[in-house]
Symmetry: C2
């Protein structure tokens, strides 16, 4: 299946096809210098597979997790490209999850003020969400995504076969973004997930999720307004991720916790069921003040209030400015472990 | 005088007016957090003047010269903005030359994926050329502008009064870009400069130069093709700048040397006269091989050939792919000191 993301001169195709990585050269222009960036957690044969199809290829392995998104790693990758003589006509390919994609995308956006960028996401999180939309970034001083650019890939190859090697927790981590899309925009997709056979329906779930994201990105490429719906669960989610002591939680797990306080009671009940089925957390013991502090540094922060996405009825949403006080209260009432 | 640079949703005004820095708040939205970036070589009263008009202002002084455009300085500025709690709704202002503008612009382009950027150029080089067009950058491993973004300012304030404090050599450095614009696009402007009273005609020279640049940028924002005419003299010029031992030369001086081999004999004779009148160099003793090597790393490099701008008749230009060998030959014939 091919989805075309329509952004005028920045339009690109998303190819969703089992086995597509093995014929990447049919889809991507690899007849030039190709910098393949992968992370230490990705099976090395995926990068090798792309390397073997490249005219002049190089593989750079970045650290797994958020450490891969530092300015030091960024500088190192750009230095290698310079050393290998990459020009504006060459390209970079991300083979990995959201971290590799964000870092690679920002390298592509800024090397010589922009060269071609291809994305081959290998995690459920990246296939369902992070690989399209053009948000690239690195972290600074422990704050996620504070430096970056809006920069679209030239093409995205999604090979659901690559998910086979993922541990179940990683898979659920990604599926949480599909739950998010369903909650705000696709009641039918939510019902498919409610029925329980999530793993059997993975291709459908990826496709429907990407269609939602595609439609949002097309209407609001640079996060002017509408795109905020993609942040459902992320405002608190990022706060949780930034809070050092909780580094053990995955992004999707933080988003799961972030969505729960932002629903009506009925929506929350149905959501809780789906999250539990995916073994995603529904409560946690937090230091709320620390998290709120981290959130004041968040991009979505706007002075003393913060714009959040609320889901009253599954498949619909509303944007609301909320004070940090109300946020703290919802947080405490709905996901703090002691109260459950 | 107001010039509007028309780039659709990225359009902006360039205000050319003596004394405009003193009423910057009438032109710029300074009723928010304002990070003012200036360099150690700029009179500190210019930044103070903007600071006094800002609601919540901060001044960051970066090192003078190319050292101000390192990734370390970039990281330091972004860290300060994070520390001071800058959000997407705040802004940065460059008060300085091309170095401050390039660094500030890239900070603005990438902080939270883009915040408002104002430019108040204080050098002739920046007022005549560098402050408009949206090319932002930092250096890496001694290679100029290898990392950056196309990112347009929201407004540019050009106050020719600020040039009063410049030493003559700095003024000539900037005027060389006006000579460049005239050579490719404005025979009449070249004649004004040929007449000799360059300093008396500085307002006219700034305006006419900016009009040429504006028209080129409007037609080719991201340096697809036409914008290459702005690189007249810069291909070799950048090569010279990259060559370590010649660090004593200013950008405009390198461009002066870079233009000479790229003209017809008659154009070169007239150009030489104007450059000499501005006390700009017309010959130098180079290590050609080193310079050619640096140029292979240049953005404008395209494999074994390089696209250069040639001026046959003043006020016109042509683009040509030239081999590195021919480049070396022209270089040796026309600006190597021994041959003069």
């Amino acid at each position: 299946m091919i989805l075309n993301l329509d952004l005028k001169e920045r339009s690109y195709d998303i190819i969703i096809e089992r086995g597509v990585i093995k014929k990447a050269a049919e889809q991507l222009n690899l007849k030039r210098k190709v910098m393949i960036i992968t992370d230490a957690g990705v099976p090395s044969e995926y990068a090798s597979c792309v390397l073997s199809q490249s005219k002049v290829g190089y593989v750079e392995v970045i650290p797994e997790g958020e450490n891969g998104k530092s300015l030091a790693v960024y500088e190192n990758v750009l230095s290698k490209m310079l050393e290998y003589g990459f020009t504006r006509s060459d390209c970079v390919v991300s083979v990995g999850g959201g971290v590799a994609g964000d870092l690679t995308g920002f390298c592509a956006a800024s090397y010589m003020r922009g060269i071609d960028f291809y994305n081959i996401p290998t995690t459920a999180l990246a296939q369902i969400d992070a690989s399209i939309g053009g948000k690239t970034a690195v972290n600074l001083r422990g704050i996620k995504n504070i430096i970056g650019a809006f920069y679209q890939p030239k093409k995205v190859l999604i090979d659901p076969d690559l998910l086979i090697t993922l541990p179940p927790r990683q898979l659920s981590n990604g599926l949480c973004e599909a739950v998010k899309m369903a909650m705000t925009s696709d009641a039918e997709l939510f019902e498919i997930m409610e029925e329980g056979n999530i793993y059997d329906n993975i291709d459908t779930i990826i496709e429907r999720s990407l269609k939602i994201k595609k439609s949002v990105v097309e209407k609001d490429e640079r996060e002017g307004g509408l795109r905020k719906i993609l942040n459902f669960g992320h405002t608190i989610g990022h706060g949780i991720e930034s809070e050092e002591k909780l580094n053990g939680l995955y992004h999707g797990e933080c988003v799961a916790l972030g969505m729960l306080p932002m629903c009506s009671t009925s929506a929350r009940e149905r959501l809780t069921k789906v999250l539990k089925n995916l073994h995603l957390p529904t409560s946690y013991d937090f230091d709320i003040q620390k998290i709120i502090e981290a959130m004041r540094h968040d991009k979505k922060s706007d002075g003393d209030c913060i714009t959040v996405v609320l889901v009253e009825k599954i498949g619909t949403f509303e944007l609301k400015k909320m004070s940090y006080d109300e946020l703290t209260e919802r947080f405490t009432s709905y996901i703090k472990k002691e109260n459950k």
